[in-house]
Symmetry: C2
């Protein structure tokens, strides 16, 4: 393991697509949704732990989740958790990590990764990661990791490559295409899902931020002497209160001309919905995804059942349903209506406030 290699885990998300299992107070990255005993965050850490020394992990998260992070990753020190006072999308998150890292180790190479995805072919992925860490040490490039698409997904960003090299210059980024465009992308063969995993030298990303997000550069470089000191918290509080929310894709990657992509198939999924969890999970003989014990089904097919620990369920006569039960919220809805979860949350919030969100 190289002492100049760092892994920045972005763990500030507060998504609610797994509601009621995911909550504001405990979003998806902290859930053990497959019942493996490991949260998404924990799996993410372990994915890079053979490549990156424990002391070189940096977790950027919301201040509210700091204790969760330290609980899930006992190997890291409190100083390795960078707390955002408020979420401002991925560019400020990456700026915070990159500029503080620049101060600590100007030779740093950094991996940036979401904290709530899964990768099934861990070994393949690790080889690619190490290949790309090598590649960026010799090239002034911003590397992205692309996923061979398996369906015309309209919820993802797509990366178009410009040639057939294994590591290829990016021609174009396209955020969330409509279904027709997504179908064309999948058929064409030049387009890949944007995994949100990036690899670069810290000085290369800082240079790109300086060029494409000059306001952010000026804010985050203005406190360069404060990172790692007792002044950091207040300085960051101020910066996040004034800096523009923008994604790293839109703010930097779509504009920079030194972006490359390495595509691969390593069993990636963002497990973004109950439906994708259903697809990824092992099914019983009636195509139900349910806890290994304590869930008794009768005339029930193609359902996904999630229960609190030690709770049991008897379910009869349901087909194609999500049954998501937690200590204080029970949700039963047809799988094909999972996009309505947003609506449910809004109505619960409108009537009962934040308690159940």
């Amino acid at each position: 393991m190289n002492e100049h290699v760092y892994c920045v885990i972005m763990a500030g998300g507060a998504g609610t697509r797994f509601w009621p299992k995911s909550r504001r107070s405990k979003p998806k990255q902290f859930l053990d949704i497959f019942g493996t005993g490991k949260s998404f965050l924990r799996l993410t850490y372990e994915r890079f732990a053979r490549t990156v020394p424990a002391s070189n992990f940096i977790v950027v998260t919301n201040a509210n989740y700091r204790d969760h992070v330290l609980e899930h990753l006992p190997e890291i020190q409190p100083s390795q958790v960078l707390c955002e006072p408020v979420g401002r999308n991925t560019a400020p998150c990456i700026c915070y990590a990159a500029y503080s890292l620049l101060q600590r180790d100007p030779e740093a190479r950094m991996i940036v990764t979401p904290s709530d995805h899964i990768i099934l072919k861990e070994e393949t992925f690790r080889e690619i990661t190490e290949q790309l860490l090598e590649f960026v040490s010799d090239h002034e490039v911003l590397m992205t990791v692309g996923i061979t698409p398996t369906r015309p997904e309209t919820g993802y960003g797509y990366i178009q490559k410009s040639d057939n090299n294994e590591i290829s210059r990016v021609k174009c980024f396209t955020e969330k295409p409509n279904i027709e465009l997504a179908r064309t992308f999948v058929q064409c063969g030049e387009f890949f899902w944007n995994s949100g995993i990036f690899i670069w030298k810290v000085k290369d990303i800082v240079a790109a931020i300086e060029k494409h997000l000059p306001e952010h550069h000026s804010l985050f470089s203005s406190i360069i002497g404060d990172y790692g000191t007792e002044r950091e918290e207040n300085a960051i509080k101020h910066i996040f209160s004034v800096c523009r929310a923008v994604s790293i894709d839109y703010g930097v990657m779509e504009k920079a001309d030194n972006v490359f992509v390495r595509c691969g198939d390593f069993g990636w999924s963002d497990v973004g919905t109950w439906g994708s969890l259903y697809q990824l999970s092992r099914k019983d003989e009636y195509a139900n995804v349910k806890p290994a014990s304590g869930c008794f089904t009768y005339g029930t097919r193609n359902c996904i059942v999630s229960l609190p620990k030690d709770k049991i369920a008897v379910i009869s006569g349901l087909k194609d349903y999500i049954i998501a039960d937690t200590d204080d919220v029970l949700m039963i809805c047809p799988r094909e209506e999972e996009q309505d979860i947003r609506k449910y949350i809004d109505e619960v919030k409108f009537n009962l406030g934040d308690k159940y969100i």
Copy 2:
């Protein structure tokens, strides 16, 4: 209120038709299933509290439920709770109450009532009760209370009256008829549901037991000096270990020739099933029975939803379902399959033991 009037509440039942809400450890009589703040047992007590002095209530229950009883009925003393070491159907239960009462007050008149039924027209019912208490003081009769049937129910016992008097001699008892017979009974007009509520002088029921259940008479009269002493518990333990399980209906009422019935319509229901609870409960505009707040339904009709306190639910796309959620068991099943609950319980018990029963 007359000091010789007693009310014996039979509260030993451990039925599981309201599973998972009713449990071995907390059967239906202790549940507040309508969310009124009062359990069935409490409602039963209050029903007779204007007729019977608090000190004249006797609750017969299983030893395991003793504390529940005292918690639900703070007005009564521990000595008013008679504990059965094991359930032996209603005859031994009534023997226990009757023989100990005979020792205490040979002039006692007693009301016997189940603890898990509801009566909506409480005032009408109270007038009938007091009329019958008067009647039995002048007559050596065993009074039953009959309910005008509203449907050909096959789960109840029926009482046939022999004339058109308000208080009529009983011609015949029929336990759980088949559906054809039940239909005939309802059309005929001479048949009434057996409410399980009885009124008699204690010496009259003891005389009937002596005649029709001589073994029981010999057992319960053999310990007549022990009731109310420290010897009672052991004596009762012995008697219940040897006495035959039999219902008062089969053992006495069907055989005695001095059984009378007073029929009436006073909004009685045994609330024996989720279906009957559904029928009795107030429905929302989509015919759902659900908690007044915290249950959000979409495209959901004719369902009954029961949730733990402070729990919320979002339910979409269900029609004619029972959704019964408790802290440790969730049951979802079509209303028309509620008779399968017995099967669910058996399977849960077979796989997981008694924990969830």
